[in-house]
Subunit: 207 residues, 2 copies
């Protein structure tokens, strides 16, 4: 009996500036699982170096709202005036093909996904300290002081929602955070609800 | 602020003959966590090479029943005429000291532990096939044909209870099973309920 194991949906989230993107890139580099990255859609303008269809699908407000009305997003969020969303069909297609899909999204969006797909794996990437988060946000150099203060305030609120996640990975170093996330992904593949789907049939009635 | 993180209780279980002991030994050899092995108490006679206080505490029926009456076991089970039990005080002491404790126990006992400590991590070690399980039981050379048949029947019942566990690790090779279990243990240390206990206080009110 040939069974294709469905992929695991991994939702990576956490405060802006905590370093989710760097950690995610490292996981993709080293994981032995067949990881796929779902490309989000956004109405914000591309930053220097960002590529359409790779970093994001960059669309107009009109296109975004049309798709939203058609129920074509797994989650969506507004952030400093811009919309971000995860195309549902794209995610489902990859999972069905046996790929693990990792979403890197805002906390607001992650909680939306939890309502639709509660069995997904929710990981909150947390800073080792608020001072360190402040330092990282400033160091990014893209935000003015008022925005930095806003992000710090928002981070506190988001950390207050961390109990909604299955796992909390403290990003003290990229290497540590990467290792923790890889272990979590491995463990997902041994979850009894996943394994049992095909196992009992295969083992007790093998033909 | 200095916090000692409590250890994780890991319950390793599965059909007799599946190779739990070998896998467990390998995990202890390689894990970077501070793993402790809880020594069970039993009324069965030592096998050749087994050491009292290391492999088991070997006691009489009278001593076992006295301790049972005093509520001193986390779980206990009867198996082919003999009693087996896990001393509660010993486990709790090690967890409080920050050690991960791994119990290797029968399915019946594991389900008892689940009632007392539902937050523990329950891992079912499963055979890759029933033929392979049969082969492993026979290969052990300690059982007569009637007992082998009894164990196979019991294994089917136990596999039918595998959904009660958090994880199912298929023991195709010791190396694979060991890696899966090590990832599961790592992931337990990132579980949000564990991490959050100290994290919010530490990060939002650091002194």
């Amino acid at each position: 009996m040939e069974l294709i194991d469905k992929g695991v949906l991994i939702v990576l989230s956490g405060p802006s500036g905590v370093g989710k993107g760097t950690v995610r890139a490292k996981v993709f580099e080293e994981s032995h699982h067949s990881l796929a990255y779902s490309v989000s859609m956004t109405t914000r303008k591309p930053r220097v170096g960002e590529v359409d269809g790779k970093d994001y699908f960059f669309v107009t407000h009109e296109v975004f709202k049309q798709r939203l009305a058609e129920g074509k997003f797994l989650e969506h969020a507004e952030f400093v005036g811009h919309f971000y969303g995860t195309p549902l069909d794209d995610v489902q297609k990859r999972l069905d093909a046996g790929k693990d899909v990792m979403l890197e999204i805002e906390v607001e969006g992650a909680l939306q996904v939890k309502k639709v797909m509660p069995d997904a794996c929710f990981i909150f990437v947390a800073p080792p300290s608020m001072d360190e988060l402040h330092y990282r946000i400033i160091n990014r150099g893209t935000e003015d002081p008022a925005r930095v203060a806003g992000r710090m305030k928002k981070a506190e609120v988001e950390i207050g929602l961390a109990h909604e996640y299955d796992y909390i990975v403290i990003n003290d170093t990229v290497e540590n955070a990467k290792n923790r996330i890889m272990a979590i992904i491995d463990a997902q593949h041994s979850r009894s609800d996943r394994v049992l789907e095909g196992y009992r049939q295969k083992i007790l009635n093998p033909n």
